[in-house]
Symmetry: C2
């Protein structure tokens, strides 16, 4: 049995215990789960300094997002706060650390969804927005739309006070060795707030040397991001085209709703049995309303972690 | 019982009879179903001349698409052929008849998916492509991508020999009374070919006066377009944001796969019970591998029709 299976199962048991001892809420404890991309992350290949840098940023993202939940904030706000930290770091392929496309420019995608309202927001192909997840959140909360792309999305962001940055903001780190070269490093978060509401969000720079205008699953509600209080919140990372075709987020949700699978089982089946055989490399993080966590991937590793009340943040890289 | 329910049930019975008497194939007979948008289409409000114009174009689309199936073509090719006819007509809000956005320009979305391979293609926010469905098909068949947007999509189209047209191609009809003013008129098709393979496609000009960059469900695999040989092919039309949030195409498929609902029941439940109560106006056409058809909507009417072997094309407007 692979170690990632053990991870999922043990987290499932931990979560089951936590929620069954909770006397004050009908749903699980406030919880935040994040990822920083899946891919070739192999023990021994990361230097201790690099490991420390990733650990530091993941813990920072968990703490900033979790603080929102502790203060009574909503799950979508916690998702945004956690993702903003990773977007601002050059370590991940999102926001500042985004990879360049075929033309040598960056084009970013992001999306967010609330499990209670089924409201959602998404941007794709944006070049000037410092924090694409913040723009997606604004679309969700301040417009009748779900998805805005390219220059139209940038105009919406500017009109709504979202921070616009020059290309040099992104390019500054482009030759740094710490920039991702493989497209690894999409970031995402799923959260459960005090009110029992789930939310999910994802942000990415896409694949390196992609055709201009290419949009991956990180911008697609149902694929890279999905949340429904009746099932789960999901954020994906991986080879986006496969995740779009398999409608990964909604597929995991549907298996929970209609096949009565657990989150762990549904996520495991979709990542290992549907995606892996067809070459769909990547992973997902998931969270259900009882506080059960899944962090599943079919690659060598996935930057990931979670945080719950009365526990320190926990961060993992490898299988 | 509303008349659309009777439509669905009677078509279901017709289809069941057809496929049970078919001796030569394990799947249903070659079938093409199309729509030209759902909305306020009320008997008595359309002039006889207008009715004739719509009937003529829908029959033309059915015949051109069906011809591909008869000649042994693939379902995705039939979907493209049928949609191309409607994109070239000023009667529908797709291609030539696309409505203008807030800036007074048109931005079109389209997508296509194959049920056998799960391959898919999509464009969004394109302004210069004569037939967006043709560009989506090219992305599906000639690139590793699923979705390209805005200028990047236009460049891909130009690089691949897709016809590019000046803005006047679309604007010529913008003041014509026959142009749709309500955003009504998204077009779509689903097909079953001789090889038992399903495909679905959708094309639209989006909502009138939309924010530049706004993308609706017609471009989203899983929402406005979805196909899986194990369940169904779906093309949607309606208030796109609701269709994205409910992941309508994949939701209908999941209900068939995991709840063992019929196509008719799954489509009916999603359109009438999930979408209608939350204000999600619109409809879907659907087709399964046995040749069962669904044409379901929660609006006053939907331009729609279907064609099967040894039957004339059939076209309907109202409930």
């Amino acid at each position: 049995m692979k170690s990632y299976v053990i991870w999922v199962l043990s987290l499932f048991l931990i979560a089951a215990c936590s929620s069954s001892t909770d006397q004050t809420m009908t749903t699980g404890p406030i919880t935040l789960v994040i990822h920083g991309g899946a891919g070739r992350i192999v023990k021994g290949e990361l230097t201790p300094a690099k490991e420390n840098a990733y650990r530091h940023q993941l813990i920072n993202a968990l703490e900033q997002g979790f603080k929102i939940l502790e203060e009574g904030g909503e799950s979508a706000q916690a998702v945004v706060a956690a993702i903003q930290i990773m977007e601002a770091s050059p370590l991940f392929n999102a926001g500042k650390g985004s990879v360049r496309n075929r033309d040598g420019v960056i084009e970013m995608d992001a999306s967010i969804m609330e499990g209670k309202t089924s409201l959602a927001g998404a941007v794709a192909g944006v070049r000037t927005i410092k924090s694409p997840i913040t723009a997606a959140y604004k679309i969700m909360t301040k417009s009748p739309y779900v998805m805005l792309v390219a220059k139209g999305a940038q105009r919406f962001a500017a009109e709504h006070g979202i921070e616009i940055v020059p290309p040099t903001y992104f390019h500054a780190k482009s030759t740094d060795q710490s920039s991702p070269s493989s497209g690894l490093g999409t970031v995402g978060a799923v959260a459960l707030d005090r009110y029992g509401n789930l939310a999910a969000g994802t942000s990415t720079g896409g694949t390196p040397k992609k055709h201009p205008g290419r949009v991956g699953d990180s911008a697609i509600i149902g694929a890279g991001t999905y949340a429904d209080n009746r099932s789960c919140a999901i954020s994906a990372t991986g080879h986006g085209e496969f995740f779009i075709r398999q409608v990964v987020g909604h597929e995991i949700s549907a298996r929970m709703k209609y096949r009565k699978q657990s989150l762990a089982r549904a996520a495991e089946d979709v990542i290992q049995e549907t995606l892996k055989p067809i070459g769909g490399k990547g992973g997902v993080i998931g969270l259900d309303r009882a506080g059960n966590i899944a962090m599943v991937f079919n690659t060598e590793g996935m930057y990931r972690g979670y945080m719950r009340e009365s526990e320190p943040p926990r961060v993992y890289f490898y299988q």
